[in-house]
């Protein structure tokens, strides 16, 4: 753990999958195992004793924690049951929760954040593709492994597919990632992009940061202010999607919506440029910018 309070999983870190017996839970358990993640236990109430891809299933998170000593969990639980599953994990001592679950009500997310603060837990998401640490062969997420390579860029993205696409182009250009994290597509994220920048500042394995944002809210504006105020010294590359998006329309992600001129791509791009970030106008431009400014 560094001063940001964010703890990334180590190589071989035991991981719990909540909702392991569902369609996505079982598919991604298989894919995470293939990548090298140590999926040590699964949880689905009423399914104790079963196995998914050889991984033992328990009824309760507390049982899984007791058997494996795990402090990390990835959640595939359906939205109506998400809050109580997150609460159960925190009460059982889980300190890193990766919330893949989509369509979580905003008030459940707010309650969960208050709870995470009390428990000293980090929540990534909800509505995130998760995180991947290529050098440690740890994938806590649903991203396609083939896009990512070990390296020295920290990649943070509000969008899943754009993260895969940009990671893939960076990898092709020879720029691997020390970590890639999906912040989540919802209006409220358990851990903000600003929190992740604090982590990246102190992480020696990160030479530069790539931030992928989109319309809606003011997370990028807050980030830009933070970059200036804290004198963030590593190079920052950014892409913001949605310059052509209309107002008051929710563009796929619950969080991707402009209200009354608040949350526009222009505002985010100019804030980040003013903070000294290299902003690409297309995803394809990001690896070119990295090449130009990082290989000097």
């Amino acid at each position: 753990m560094n001063s940001s309070g964010i703890m990334l999983p180590k190589e071989g870190e035991p991981v719990i999958v909540q909702g392991i017996t569902g369609r996505y839970g079982s598919l991604h358990t298989k894919l995470m195992l293939q990548y090298g993640t140590n999926v040590a236990a699964g949880v689905t109430p009423g399914k104790a004793g079963e196995r998914v891809e050889g991984v033992p299933v328990y009824d309760r998170v507390a049982d899984a924690v007791e058997k494996t000593g795990s402090r990390c969990s990835i959640l595939f639980v359906p939205a109506p049951f998400f809050y109580s599953a997150a609460e159960e994990a925190m009460q059982a001592g889980v300190k890193l929760l990766v919330a893949i679950t989509e369509r979580v009500p905003i008030r459940d997310t707010l309650k969960m954040i208050a709870l995470a603060e009390r428990h000293g837990a980090t929540v990534v998401g909800p509505n995130t593709p998760g995180l991947i640490v290529p050098a440690r062969k740890v994938k806590l997420g649903i991203m396609p492994a083939s896009s990512f390579r070990p390296g020295r860029l920290a990649l943070f993205s509000r969008s899943g597919t754009l993260m895969y696409e940009i990671a893939n182009q960076l990898s092709t250009h020879g720029f691997g990632q020390c970590v890639a994290v999906g912040i989540g597509g919802d209006p409220i994220n358990g851990t903000t992009i600003t929190d992740f920048f604090d982590w990246a500042r102190d992480f020696e394995g990160a030479d530069a940061v790539v931030a992928v944002g989109e319309i809606g809210g003011d997370a990028e504006e807050i980030l830009a202010k933070h970059i200036v105020e804290t004198g963030f010294s590593k190079p920052v590359f950014a892409y913001i999607a949605g310059r052509a998006a209309p107002e008051e329309k929710r563009m796929g992600h619950a969080g991707a919506i402009i209200y009354g001129g608040y949350g526009t791509a222009e505002s985010k791009i100019s804030a980040l440029k003013d903070a000294g970030a290299h902003v690409g106008m297309t995803p394809m431009e990001i690896p070119l910018l990295v090449e130009r400014y990082l290989r000097k």
């Binding site: 905003i106 396609p144 754009l162 696409e165 052509a244 107002e247 563009m251 991707a256 394809m284």
Partner: protein, 340 residues
């Protein structure tokens, strides 16, 4: 127009005629008028029905009495994303462009609800300090916050709230509510409300996201961010998107088929751009879905970029179909915009 006559008889003149639309900024778009005679009411009603506000024609009018009041106020409970909290926003002046005005009072709302003391503090900071004036405002604030919390609204707004000259109860002259769609499973009665756009509702049922736009190039892809960035590429190249369509992650063939059939029926779509970056989404599933739809009935020309795992197989599946394949997103965009 007889309805307009009846309504102005009913509320009395002078009256205010207001467009009923789902977007904001109605006043600025000319959707609100004060009328003094029945002739004026009919004239303004016809004019407002002819407007397009936020791309939408007004489906109904609200005609209400033009009150003489001392002041108009703005009250709302909304999500403040930066603070990661709901907030109460109150201002002494209602009407248009409230967001741009200084002199607003903003207070965070705890997860458990707005405490009465905070509501009293909001009223005091607006300069309403005497008990007779404060009590009704505090009451409205607390009720508005309870509505927002219990029905799980992203926004609950009264704008304007008229405080009349006679010292009577404040009157909500207009209001707006935005529900948290993700919480509808706890509010089955609200889930019955019709969707803003029938095609958007149909898409939601099929499990993909669709937003109607006013151009002529339908933009389809997997992942909200990827489709957003494709819209940007299309408009940078001088094209105009006809829709935003996100197939979602892990797209199955039947969802791809439903999406393309919907695009086929979209009247303003003259060409279709499909941008897929396969990962968990299997490019072969997408190709199979696209192939099925383009072969079963005539369709607008489809321009596609399909990249990612199993892309060679996906491209091979589309050979011999009218689908035009391009190796990169910018090339596909250039072709679809040029209409080549």
């Amino acid at each position: 127009m007889e309805d307009v006559d009846d309504a102005s008889d009913w509320v009395g003149l002078p009256a205010v005629v207001k467009a009923q639309v789902l977007s904001g900024g109605r006043g600025k778009a000319g959707g609100v008028a004060i009328v003094r005679t029945k002739e004026e009411a009919r004239f303004e009603a016809a004019r407002i029905f002819g407007l397009r506000i936020g791309g939408e024609r007004p489906s109904a009018l609200l005609i209400e009495s033009a009150l003489t009041h001392l002041r108009e106020m703005y009250l709302s409970v909304s999500l403040d994303r930066g603070r990661r909290s709901f907030v109460v926003i109150a201002s002494g002046a209602g009407g248009i462009d409230v967001e741009a005005q200084a002199g607003r009072v903003i207070e965070a709302v705890p997860v458990s609800g707005l405490p009465r003391e905070t509501a009293i503090a909001v009223a005091s900071r607006l300069g309403i300090r005497d008990e007779r004036g404060q009590a009704p405002l505090v009451d409205i604030l607390l009720k508005l916050e309870r509505l927002s919390r219990e029905e799980e609204c992203e926004l609950a707004e009264i704008n304007p709230l008229a405080v009349d000259a006679a010292g009577g109860s404040p009157i909500a002259l207009d209001s707006k509510v935005v529900l948290d769609d993700n919480a509808l499973f706890r509010h089955p009665e609200l889930a019955l409300l019709p969707p803003e756009d029938p095609m958007e509702g149909e898409a939601a049922k099929e499990g993909f996201a669709f937003v109607r736009l006013d151009g002529d190039i339908a933009v389809v892809g997997n992942g909200a961010g990827l489709v957003l960035s494709t819209l940007d590429l299309v408009s940078d190249a001088g094209g105009r998107p006809a829709c935003f369509l996100d197939l979602g992650g892990g797209s199955q063939q039947d969802r791809v088929e439903a999406a393309l059939r919907l695009v086929r029926r979209l009247p303003n779509a003259r060409r279709v751009l499909v941008n897929i970056f396969g990962g968990i989404t299997r490019t072969t599933d997408v190709a199979a879905g696209v192939k099925k739809v383009v072969m079963e009935a005539p369709m607008q020309p489809v321009y596609a970029r399909i990249s990612g795992a199993e892309e060679e197989e996906a491209r091979r599946m589309l050979q011999g179909t009218p689908v035009r394949l391009y190796p990169s997103a910018p090339e596909a965009v250039e072709a679809v915009v040029g209409g080549a």
